[in-house]
Amino acid sequence: MSKASTPLDRIRNFSIIAHIDHGKSTLADRLIQRTGGLTDREMSAQVLDNMDIEKERGITIKAQTVRLNYRAKDGLDYELSLMDTPGHVDFAYEVSRSLAACEGALLVVDAAQGVEAQTLANVYQSIEHDHEIVPVINKIDLPAAEPDKVKKEIEDIIGISAEDAVLASAKSGIGIDEVLEAIVTRIPPPKGDREAPLKAMLVDSWYDPYLGVVILVRVVEGVLRKGQEIKFMATGTRHLVDRVGCMRPKIEQLTELAAGEIGFITAQIKEVSQTAVGDTITDAKKPTAEALPGFKTVQPVVFCGLFPVDAADFEKLRDSLYKLRLNDASFSFEAESSAALGFGFRCGFLGLLHLEIIQERLTREYDLDLITTAPSVVYKIQLAHGKGELDLHNPADMPDVMQIASIDEPWIEATIYVPDEYLGSLLKLCQDRRGIQKNLTYVSGRAQITYELPLNEVVFDFYDRLKSISRGYASFDYHQIGYREGDLVKMSIMVNAEPVDALSMIVHRSTAETRGRGMCERLKDLIPRHLFKIPVQAAIGGKVIARETIAAMRKDVTAKCYGGDASRKRKLLDKQKEGKKRMREYGSVQIPQEAFIAALRMGDEG
């Protein structure tokens, strides 16, 4: 076990703010390497990104922390705590808690890409937390790097001085010492009374197979010790601390964490769902008077159905979801059944990326073959005759129109940042998606637009459209701004006059026809031709709003078949019959599961 706490003035807590791929994790790796946290041999690229998905996709999902020991040019030893935060809007709340745990931030901006919307959102949050911001212009090794232009952008757009920005290349190790010095000299040390009752923030938590639930904390006041009985103020539970430590990034056990320090604890907690990010941890016997501000419970905002392709995998899917939830309390699931897709689960996520990550982990880590239904949001249905309000997570559960007084849908405020030349198409996209323009400003050849948009329109491939319209140059960030009434309808898809439950969705009346037509056209290509012609229709209530017809198949016959081909034909028949098992039947139409998957996977305009 290590020595007691470091004096406050030798501590620096900082986070790294960056847009996706601007090099946050790579820079973190360099800092760890330079301060000797890991030997070269132990360094695998992006050590802080633990999950396979994080390493592979190069994105950070969970907040990670690492404590670095650094002897500065002033000859003194400092204890630097680095917080690598997720860089995606889906995890905005987690980001805000990580930021709240620090006194400063490195603002990493890609020297070739410049400032992006997400950088802005996080940087404003950081400024709100009174952070000292140290701009780091990364990737100066790139031929396309334009550090001066980026400096000007930082000043113009963010409004902070970039005169002393550190020019770095995390990849080639340029400017790393300068970054470390800037942390020590420019970011203020934490404050906090070590004698006061314990007050610590629960920054993040995760499940470790050996340690159980590990909780990342920032001690704000007082001291957190091994053996202490603590209380989670929001959830109200009490636990006995059995380990206190920090990550370097390897685990190091300590006797205590004092005000100003970041570290971890374990307290014999079995499930991550028992811990709430942003909660205040205090001493059970000598509690603090007031909890830390800013706590909120995160609610899933995007829902979809997950079904095993092979019905026999249902139990396996359930077990896998339980296991994933051990480590991620922010998604929810409940059993659901569909005529088309069989038994599965309705799952809730923080956003689309979150959805994708969970889906990918299920397929990859748990080896499941899944069908994902179209993502939808939570609607609030006001029932007629004052019968109250209903939260609708699944279009299939929508009550009859006669029972509905009105439907409210969630709205967001989006900040989009886009080079001038794509502005026109972008405005059109937002307009098409029922957006309300709130603000439009130009800074150095780029436009910053603020739009209010229904979330429903965003979960449906908005992000993909945005990327393709702007050739990847637009960036996008959002936060929810509450519910508003909308003229929403349930659109059903019918194949050979029979509704296909898995394809029904809730849409705004004004976009129903376009969406319906898109879906019908897609299905026309995806459903194989049959011996008879098949109408594919989109309908609202009883009214058909779009229609396509799949022509009858005209030819499917083996030209040649003689003696030896008898066994071959038998094998072919077996294969055809086997294939039939993967089909779902609607109005005597066999729809291959692949068609559902493709229909649901593809975006709006295909």
């Binding site: 005209r554 030819k555 499917d556 016959v557 030209a559 030896g564 066994s567 028949l573 055809q576």
Partner: protein
């Protein structure tokens, strides 16, 4: 020409009759067809997935002896049968020495005896070299020839990788018509880019040539062929299925009008001119198959000979037969084959007869609900005791079969 085997070989044949593996005492009477495979070709056609091989030199004596003993092996397991047809297929059996053909026919007659109207067919390439042998082949006992004409258009023949041209092919056809009582020829259609009008013109020409039988195959890209490679590279674009359907319908119309209606998916004949040998396959008759890769179906067994010529020869040396696999067909498998093969025929199947033969109730054979559904679509029909796939249905046979066939 030497139509009978030498005395030494005859002795070997007689010895083989003592083979204990066939001494089951199971004497089954009835008709039998015999297939003889000659696996060699001058070159490999780009669409061909048959068991055909190009070899520099073929030891003809050895091959003759080997085929004879493979036949003898079949004879020991099939005593008391009578041959209704023999079919020399390939490969290119017209490259066989006529003497070998004669020896094989004579041996077959000795083993089993012939039905009075036995059909003895040989597949031939329509080249001048081969046409020169037609008279000898006729003398050897061949009474029906099936010519691989494939097209009546020189560009199409070049595309199909054929060695002959149209003029040479037509000359060979004339020679064949003079030498043999019955002549069939094959055409391949629905080639990339082939228009409906062009095909109709070619078919009209073909019908005018006056044979009693026509095999008209739509080009199929078979896996493992050169065409399959080209198709995968996008260098060959197969005909659009809807267009191919138009061509198929035009084929039916023209041949029917000319008095050569289709009696099977791709086979057309003047009534009475159908290939009896092939009908045996489609009607679930027994047939023995000898030579490399040949299949047989006899007293409930499915036999396959070694495919590669060298392997087959080695097996012959080792075992005095070329069988690589001999599987007992379950009643379900036999019934399935009866349905799959029988429904290719215009005459369709008699479910009750199949049920009686296999012991599987008709209700288990055929999906009655599917039949009813397909009947309303006009794709199948029930005519007295028979279930048939209609003209309209024939084009969709592969999609219909898995619905109708309940077993398997």
């Amino acid at each position: 020409m030497n139509p009978s085997p030498g005395p030494g070989r005859g002795a070997a044949l007689r010895e083989n009759r003592g083979d204990p593996s066939t001494a089951l005492g199971e004497r089954q009477g009835g008709d039998l067809a015999l297939y003889i495979h000659w696996p060699f070709c001058v070159s490999k056609c780009p669409y061909c997935d048959f068991n055909s091989h190009v070899r520099a030199g073929v030891d003809e004596d050895r091959w003759r002896a080997a085929l004879l003993s493979d036949m003898a092996h079949e004879a020991t397991s099939l005593p008391g049968r009578r041959l209704t047809s023999i079919f020399f297929g390939g490969g290119t059996p017209s490259l066989m020495p006529p003497a070998t053909v004669a020896a094989l026919i004579a041996a077959a007659e000795r083993h089993w005896g012939f039905a009075p109207d036995i059909e003895i067919t040989l597949e031939a390439n329509p080249s001048s070299v081969e046409a020169a042998r037609f008279a000898d082949l006729g003398a050897a006992g061949i009474n029906r020839v099936s010519l691989g004409l494939q097209s009546l258009d020189d560009d199409a023949l070049a595309f199909l990788g054929r060695a002959h041209g149209v003029a040479e092919g037509l000359a060979a056809l004339e020679t064949a018509q003079a030498a043999f009582a019955r002549v069939n020829f094959d055409l391949i259609y629905a080639l990339p880019g082939q228009s409906l009008a062009a095909w109709q013109a070619m078919l009209t020409h073909a019908i005018g040539l006056g044979t009693g039988h026509l095999s008209l195959y739509q080009l199929t890209i078979e896996p493992g062929t050169r065409f399959a490679t080209l198709a995968a590279q996008g260098k060959l674009v197969p005909a659009d299925p809807d267009h191919a359907a138009d061509l198929f319908e035009a084929t039916r119309a023209l041949t029917t009008a000319a008095g050569l209606p289709a009696y099977e998916v791709s086979n057309h004949a003047r009534p009475g001119e159908e290939s009896r040998h092939n009908l045996t396959y489609w009607r679930q008759g027994d047939y023995a198959g000898i030579g490399p890769g040949a299949h047989g179906r006899r007293h409930g067994h499915a036999t396959i000979r070694h495919r590669k010529p060298e392997n087959w020869l080695a097996a012959m040396d080792r075992n005095a037969h070329g069988i690589a696999e001999d599987d007992i067909l379950t009643p379900e498998a036999r019934a399935t084959e009866a349905l799959l093969m029988g429904l290719r025929l215009a005459e369709g199947i008699d479910p009750a007869a199949i049920a009686a033969r296999t012991g599987i109730a008709t209700a288990r054979l055929v999906d009655a609900a599917a039949v009813a559904r397909l009947e309303t679509l006009g794709l199948v029909a029930q005519r007295r005791d028979r279930l048939i796939v209609t003209e309209a249905g024939m084009l969709l046979l592969d999609a219909i079969l898995p619905q109708v066939v309940a077993i398997g």
